[in-house]
Amino acid sequence: MRFGVVQFPGSNCDFDTFHVLKDVMAQDTVMLWHKDHDLQGADCVVLPGGFSYGDYLRSGAIARFSPLMQEVKAFARKGGHVLGICNGFQILLELGLLPGAMLRNKNLKFLCRHVHIRLENDRTPFTRAGRRGQVLRIPIAHFDGNYYAPPRTLAEVERNRRVVFRYCEPDGTLTEDANVNGSLASIAGIVNEGGNVLGLMPHPERASEALLGSEDGRVVFDSLIRSLGARRPRNPVPASREKVGHDR
């Protein structure tokens, strides 16, 4: 299987993610350029953290229109696996592959620290190597991570067990203090209806080596490898050549 890491102007976790997938997890991994239309046969597309296009309008708002993202959208709609980390999560929300939107953190501060998150659903391709109720220690680094969804959307997401991670105390209890950015229902990560698209604010790629203080983030990558490794190679989705947004 092959991982593809998407690079936008302003991505800054692209090489960390690439390093973890290639060197730590020993997977075939390629970089994908935002202006291309080619997913290079990736079985899983990873949208890394950073500040795509400077996040000038809204986080992820402009990256959404990049040529490659139209391919990612088609890929996801056909069941392809997409992982959005931090800014990648914000892009998936703007793109409409995941429901809801991000507001500024409740204390209006950029938060860069380790947090604890509770694994809520271990039946997704992104979490099957973990177990429900497990607490992971993983860093966050964001300004806009305050998850919001209209009441009806939130109810639907909860009902279908699409909340995958929630901010929690080290012992797994949910408190207002542990919900550092003020997200609705302490939501740190959700999947789409089909379960093949995950967005999360914490950075698993920054918690995948003991040297960096935590290996808890490997659960996500281990799960993906286990989920996709057993799958037979997919037929590649043909590239759509329609020009969109600021494509040139």
Binding site: R58, L103, P150
Partner: protein
């Protein structure tokens, strides 16, 4: 043709920046300030299209790009 577009949070969405400004104004003694909502202003220069087309174009780009309809609303006016 010049158009001004105002994007702000929907009333149902909490606006922490607006709240902070409101608190600051209260601290400064402006007790009459009841609420503050913060937003963004875009001034866009259009050319080569008729007024009627502009009236269709502005809501389109506002919905598609300038505002996120899940959390934001927009309002606009032609300046000249």
């Amino acid at each position: 043709m010049r158009v001004r577009i105002l994007v702000s949070f929907k009333d149902s969405v909490l606006d922490p920046q607006g709240q902070t400004v409101k608190n600051a104004l209260h601290t400064m003694g402006y007790a009459a300030v009841k609420d503050v909502r913060q937003g963004k202003v875009f001034e866009i220069e259009l050319e080569g299209i008729a007024r009627k087309e502009a009236e269709a174009l502005i809501p389109e780009i506002s919905r598609k790009v300038l505002a996120n309809p899940i959390i934001e609303k927009f309002d606009w006016q032609l300046l000249k």
